[in-house]
Amino acid sequence: MDGIHDMGGMDGFGKVEPEVNEPVFHAPWEGRMMAMQRAMGFAGAWHIDHARFAQERLPPHVYLTASYYERWMLAMETNVTERGFVFPDELAVGRALRPGKPLPRKLTPDVVAQGMTRSTFFRQQQGPAIFKIGDGVRTKNNHPSSHTRLPRYARGKHGTIALVHGCHMYPDSVASDNGDDPQWLYTVVFDGVELWGQDADPTTKISIDAFEPYLEAV
């Protein structure tokens, strides 16, 4: 979706301001929030792209004023209720009013180490890769209202295949609850001038990782 999360190339947000000696968490609730998301993901309650899509659907003014982990909280409230794990009356009173639904597994202390390693996103290929390293491609100029990982600044642009990563689960399908739909994944590199026009810095190249359905041959 063409949401506020898709920020690449926007002006007006000001300077980057690094914080000296930044703590891992700025308040204990941030750590709880991060770890709960991790635990629900491990349990198989939803996929990372569901978490992303729930954030992307936040109204722009909410997205921009909420802190990072506040967005995680808002997204988790969306996912637990939309998927029937928690009901709004339970969120309102702050406790469970019904038993939980079964989940494939549970993150317990004995499997935390295993749960901390990212799971693989490789999936069985459904066909051979269309593109190879060095091929010229053009990204499609699609604007789906659902979740996608092709940023606006890189739509309808000419680039070159730089890396072939194998077949991965396809976020556009996963976030729409249509299954893994494995797709070939490529790093596509663009000249700065192709993305940002003739006044762009000619020494800059930018790459995205693009799934095969985002690309067409040129």
Partner: protein, 207 residues
């Protein structure tokens, strides 16, 4: 509700956010979805174990072992798996090498993708609108915000982490470090040098 969590926050004036996060933890625990002891363990791991030191050890090894370096650049997940002192990382990690003519920068314009297993959790600036919006369009301007200036003719390569691939930068080894041990070299490797918004420290910057 996990009683131990109350111990962290005694204030009677909890913010709405604190209350809502607490409500989530209570409900998810009561319904049997999560185990608060595992939540504790995850928080502790990120606060004490998983951080940029892991990545720094990987860089230091690459600086001292050319075979490891070529393995790292070919398949970072597999190469790091051969190091006993850095925990295993998941699939899809890619290391990209800085040279005098090429400077790499990592960003996630869409949110916050970051190589957690080698760098820990990302700093706030990495997840912020200024960095996400400008890194792909004005990388030299972003570097200037960090006090970093590159040669005008050096190529800048920005890697936007738009899928489950994760990137880390292999920075250039500082001059004057010949014969240094991996441990000493690792002390020079900053988090930002592995994102591409900084350089390793110079030898004279360490005690």
């Amino acid at each position: 509700m996990a009683d131990h969590e109350h111990d962290h926050e005694h204030s009677s004036e909890l913010t709405e956010t604190q209350l809502r996060v607490r409500a989530l933890e209570t409900i998810l625990t009561e319904k049997g979805y999560i185990d608060p002891a595992a939540i504790d363990a995850i928080v502790e791991t990120y606060e004490t174990k998983v951080g940029p030191r892991n990545g720094a050890l990987v860089v230091a090894r690459a600086w001292t072992d050319s075979l490891f370096k070529s393995m790292l650049l070919a398949d970072a997940t597999k190469a790091i798996g051969t190091l006993g002192h850095v925990s295993r990382v998941g699939d899809h990690l890619i290391a990209v090498e800085n040279t005098p003519k090429l400077h790499n920068i990592i960003v996630c314009t869409l949110c916050s993708c970051y190589p957690w297993e080698v760098l820990g959790l990302p700093p706030v600036w990495y997840k912020s609108a200024p960095y996400r919006s400008r890194a792909v369009k004005d990388p030299r301007g972003v570097l200037a915000d960090f006090g970093v200036a590159l040669d005008r003719d050096a190529e800048i390569r920005v890697w936007d982490s738009t899928a489950e691939t994760r990137f880390m930068v292999l920075p250039m080894r500082p001059a004057g470090t010949e014969g240094w041990s991996e441990e000493r070299l690792a002390d020079l490797v900053t988090r930002d040098s592995m994102i591409g918004t900084g350089f390793p420290k110079m030898p004279e910057e360490t005690a």
